[in-house]
Subunit: 205 residues, 4 copies
């Protein structure tokens, strides 16, 4: 963690932590009048799946945010605002997920899925714009060029892939969601190259 980016990272950690924790407020306890408790809990499965899904998605984006900032050594005004744009997407995530959970069995399913997948188009673009700015303005550490290239390649496919998800929502909702989940798994996987600076520092410590 560079001293210049320390507060950007601390503020981002706060936003990620709150976004990921607030989700549980939407998970309602079935009232005693709801009949047999096990059956009542089973009926709520879409809420629980939605909860686990957003937790996983926000978690994966936090890991990616962490990976990016491990490479960033300097901070400028634009980086702060591009990071805010990214955090806007993060705080919004619970809304399209709740929308999709509420409308999954109704005629509104297509629109809800489009809003859901559209949010990830926005997030993929935000990640890329932030990273492009960092690379172009030389805010990276000197030792991380190879690893940064690997990140650039991985991220470049994001906006297009999520646009495919978005288009698919109008054709086949379950397929669009399956692709979205597949992309999340792709971004959860570690990049091939490890940040050299980090490893070297650890080795000499």
């Amino acid at each position: 963690m560079s001293s210049e980016t320390a507060r950007v990272e601390a503020f981002s950690d706060g936003v990620f932590a709150i976004a990921i924790t607030l989700l549980i407020l939407n998970v309602q306890v079935p009232p005693p009048s709801a009949g047999h408790l096990l059956a009542a809990l089973a009926r709520h499965w879409p809420t629980y799946v939605a909860f686990l899904l957003i937790f996983a998605f926000i978690g994966i984006m936090w890991v990616n945010h962490n990976r990016l900032f491990n490479h960033i050594r300097r901070c400028d005004n634009m980086l702060m605002f591009l990071n805010l744009l990214l955090l806007l997407g993060i705080t919004v995530v619970p809304f399209p997920t709740a929308l999709l959970a509420a409308h999954y069995s109704t005629p509104g399913r297509t629109v809800a899925a489009a809003v859901f997948n559209g949010t990830y188009v926005f997030l993929a673009i935000s990640f890329n714009v932030l990273w492009f700015h960092v690379v172009k303005r030389g805010l990276l550490g000197p030792e991380t060029q190879e690893s940064a290239n690997s990140i650039s390649r991985r991220y470049a496919v994001g906006p297009f892939s999520y646009l495919v998800c978005f288009a698919l929502s109008w054709i086949n909702v379950p397929l669009s969601l399956a692709l979205n989940i597949g992309l999340a798994i792709f971004y959860a996987l570690p990049p091939r190259t490890i940040p050299k600076g980090r490893t070297m520092r650890s080795a000499t410590k």
Copy 2:
């Protein structure tokens, strides 16, 4: 980040992060009974605009808070309380915005806009009092004099400009809001001089 101000900054980051993230709790998912989902979402546009507006405003104030504390090297008792006064304004922000969103099409619009603009008068004064204290008591780093003067000049126009906003709310609500948004854009722009201490440290690192 100076070790003396570390906890003030960490606590402030927490408050900013929560204030900016809690907003999404006010954004309601339209129930399935609300008719065509796209139309139902479109009807809620004032809520979404209000959400984006407060997110942008709190984000800009966080960037300014970050800029100020980049210059501050020492902490005293008064700085902690002036910072709390500023954070009071930050935590309050969602309230006047919700008030304005709820009363924008009613006769209460003038009062709601006055409360909204008045909050920013309070915030502009808080920023100035904090900064005035920092400059007067020598809590700045030694290398940042020029950059500090630039901040002083930028901030000095704040309270008066927001007072004009406040007065305008009684005459023309949309105009007062347009000026308020214009001022937010002004404070989002980077100051001309970069904090020298920061740059030097980065250069020698």
Copy 3:
């Protein structure tokens, strides 16, 4: 900030930041049907006063927590749990305040004031037990003896004074609240001696 206490302080900052920010969720926006907006806002004054009061109280306790941990250099198991006890009091604070606001004009006022003042008896004892443990187990920095004595003296009067508040709630509620506010102002004031270690470090920096 010592590296041993860093996480205790970061966690505490998080709890303080959330406790102080969640308060705004209780401040309701008057609906457009509530008549003239200015009159509707004026009717809600006890809510606004309660909000400002808890904000000030939690803010003052954060400043005191910060002052204590400025002196603490080492961390042990008991310190973590005594700090959790203190944070329990902090997270609870919104409840007795809401209770008092809701019952101030009803026969339940005495009980509500007793619960309110009783919470501060608990908090005053928590602060003292934590500080007593720190002094007794030598978790302080070596240079802070004089300043630590000053804190010990200031804190020693807390539990007894708040017990007087608690007793007064059964006799005269407004008087008990006035004394409580007076004590908050007392603990907001800076201690006479400045932590030497801090000042010396700043001077040599």
Copy 4:
């Protein structure tokens, strides 16, 4: 706190802090119409006990998380995700507790207690998997071997003991809860060996 694990710890602190503070939102203020206030408060005792219980449980888990990361010097991709799995359990904790509080006097008590105890089976397994990964991949500091062995032994009994709790929920709910509380007390106690690295660093500081 190692620089590699700094953000993992900061993010975790945020999640723990929010989880432990959000609980108070569930504690309702009795309305003035509820009759004598003291009686109304007394009737709500299960809510207050549930609040104190989760606060203590989350607090103890935070202390254990802190103890673990005091030993961890390096971070890898898997550690970030195992930590997220652990945090998933932490954010979930308020749900089974509210479920148990709502169904304790109904026929759903057995199922609620099973869900409650099952959550701790999940948490115990998460703690063990994270720690097993840390030990196996050599992410520990070099001086902490003995202390790490002590932690490994303490944690190894967790999953089995909580499985006994889970099984007991189908036979005797109060007994299963008593054992669960007993286990929490066991994990609150400090481990016998102090992390050597920490102590040595403090001594030489």
